[in-house]
């Protein structure tokens, strides 16, 4: 084509992502010249809000940042405080917290795989439209989500904004009999999750691989969820305390979120693809088996196949939840007492969407002086924009409407939680 052709694809309000977001892609004469993922969620002020609060309050305050992954925020917060104060929560208390985290993974992944992302692959505008032709997909999603929510309710005390975690452990350890009530729902969930892997593996995937650095936690013998060192596909291996020397955040003019980059340059991504790549061997045997069965590669480099990887993680989370419940013995005490220490604490855990890093500075009384929170979606912004550029470049001959939908599907590969990714310090206007 010799004539100059410029088109701009804009979606002003992205559907089927958590929070509010928009994207802009500019194509000039067959080249992608601009890609922006715009986050215009009202800026959040949590980091400022935390100053002056007690170190035991950070978990409940930060968990309000995200309604879909409150446990992730609570766990990263308590881990940071416990590590600063020289306490490691192990044994059955750790098992309970890991079980709770599995519950969150289950309900978050179930919502995303079935209700937010599957419609893209099946050619539907929304889950509601999909429900008319595929009611079983929706009822399966609801059953899976319910199994996760029940874990959150029994172990966390409440499904939404669970209240049972505290620095040093939990407020109340459930009885063995209470956990036993979860088993039937989880066993059904396991069957549904296995079905989800096979269903999603049968979707059509655009042919697109990316080569970004994959970053996740790692812990010998365990799939990364609640603790570990931070490693990557290109050999990074650091303690959480070194996070800020390896990863930097920058403001970009078109978005309220901060863009995360490797120190010294370089893009990376976090989340299921990263965990799957670096810790495949620690998935439960059932999860590993079904992953191999459906032909997932290790590492899987096609971000569109995230939906399959997320489904494998669903199998793992349900499997592990059942194992933790079977092995549970009521602990002697629900928590270890933690005395505050002046200093800086770092906590990194794996939210459903990826690595979530918290850093707190507290004084000798336990008062929070400063906080820094880096959510997974902030870290994935650069990867999302890189994928948009790459996908669009290969699909320029598609009609605009289809191209626009492909762009949205590309963004949803990351299950972005836009509400987490904005945490401005300066707040001028408050909107409801």
């Amino acid at each position: 084509m010799t004539e100059r052709r410029t088109k701009t694809i804009k979606t002003d309000v992205l559907a089927r992502v958590e929070g509010e977001g928009a994207m802009r892609v500019r194509i000039e004469s067959g080249r992608v010249t601009e890609v922006q993922l715009k986050i215009y969620e009202p800026p959040r002020f949590f980091e400022a809000f935390l100053r002056g609060r007690d170190f035991t309050e950070a978990l409940d305050i930060t968990s309000r940042i995200c309604g879909i992954c409150p446990i992730a925020y609570q766990m990263s917060a308590v881990t940071a405080m416990e590590s600063l104060c020289g306490v490691e929560v192990g044994g059955q208390l750790r098992a309970l917290r890991r079980l709770l985290y599995c519950g969150e993974w289950i309900e978050s992944h179930a919502l995303h795989v079935f209700m937010l992302h599957a419609p893209d692959f099946l050619g539907f505008e929304s889950a509601v439209a999909m429900a008319r032709d595929h009611p079983t997909i929706v009822t399966d999603a609801l059953a899976l989500k319910k199994a996760g929510n029940e874990v959150m309710r029994v172990v966390g005390g409440r499904e939404v904004h669970p209240i049972n975690l505290r620095v040093g452990g939990v407020h109340r350890a459930p009885r063995k009999a209470e956990l036993a009530t979860l088993v039937e729902g989880l066993e059904r969930a396991r069957e549904i999750a296995l079905g989800a892997v096979r269903l999603t593996a049968s979707f059509d995937f655009p042919d697109y691989d990316q080569e970004l650095e994959l970053v996740a936690l790692a812990q010998p013998g365990e799939y990364p969820i609640d603790r570990g060192r931070i490693i990557s596909s290109t050999g990074l291996d650091i303690a959480p305390a070194e996070y800020e020397s390896e990863f930097v955040e920058q403001h970009v003019p078109w978005s309220h979120a901060l863009h995360s980059q490797r120190a010294g340059g370089g893009s990376y991504l976090v989340g299921p693809l990263a965990r799957f790549a670096t810790s495949f061997a620690t998935l439960t045997p059932l999860a590993r088996e079904v992953a191999v069965d459906v032909g997932l590669r290790t590492p899987e480099r096609n971000p569109f196949r995230s939906i399959v990887v997320r489904s494998v993680e669903l199998v793992h989370a349900v499997d592990e939840a059942l194992e933790l419940i079977a092995a549970y013995e009521e602990p002697d005490a629900p928590a270890i007492e933690v005395a505050p220490r002046a200093g800086i604490g770092h906590g990194a855990t794996e939210a459903p969407r990826g690595l979530l890093y918290h850093r707190y500075e507290i004084d000798a009384d336990g008062t929070i002086l400063a906080a820094n929170i880096v959510p997974p979606t902030s870290q994935n912004q650069v990867a999302i924009e890189a994928d948009l550029r790459g996908v669009v470049e290969r699909s320029l001959d598609l009609p605009d409407e289809q191209l626009s939908r492909l762009c949205e599907q590309t963004i949803r590969n990351y299950d972005p939680c836009i509400s987490c990714a904005t945490h401005f310090l300066k707040l001028e206007i408050e909107r409801c």
Binding site: G19, G67, A127, V138, E430, C432
Partner: protein, 120 residues
């Protein structure tokens, strides 16, 4: 009577088999705080965007339409929305909203009593 635990999507299960449902929720539409909105959802979908004060849940409108698509929506569903005023963490209920909630509770008691009487 069920107090929603923050998961509109669970309404789908809660509504199943019911002949009628009444739902009350907060709304953010720019109207005066305390304004009462009323919608009959049996025939028509809720206007989307009105009940999205939480961005993290599959919203109320979507949950009801999902229920409808699955054939689980009761024949009669009435949604009341109270225009909210304060949404920041830790803020108490505003006087306008508290007053509107009182008024609605009264009106609902009457409406529910009439509905139950009609069934007998």
């Amino acid at each position: 009577m069920i107090e929603d635990r923050g998961e509109p999507i669970e309404l789908i299960e809660a509504c199943e088999g019911a002949q009628a449902a009444w739902l009350v929720d907060a709304v953010c539409s720019g109207a005066r705080p305390g304004t009462l909105h009323r919608f009959d959802v049996g025939e028509r979908a809720l206007p989307s965007g009105l009940f999205r004060v939480s961005t993290h849940r599959f919203g109320l409108a979507d949950a009801l339409e999902l229920a409808r698509a699955l054939g689980r929506l009761p024949p009669r569903v009435t949604v009341y929305g109270i225009e909210g005023s304060r949404f920041a963490p830790g803020e108490p209920l505003s006087p306008a909203v508290a007053a509107a909630a009182e008024r609605l509770a009264g009106a609902l008691s009457t409406e529910l009593a009439a509905a139950f009487a009609a069934v007998r």
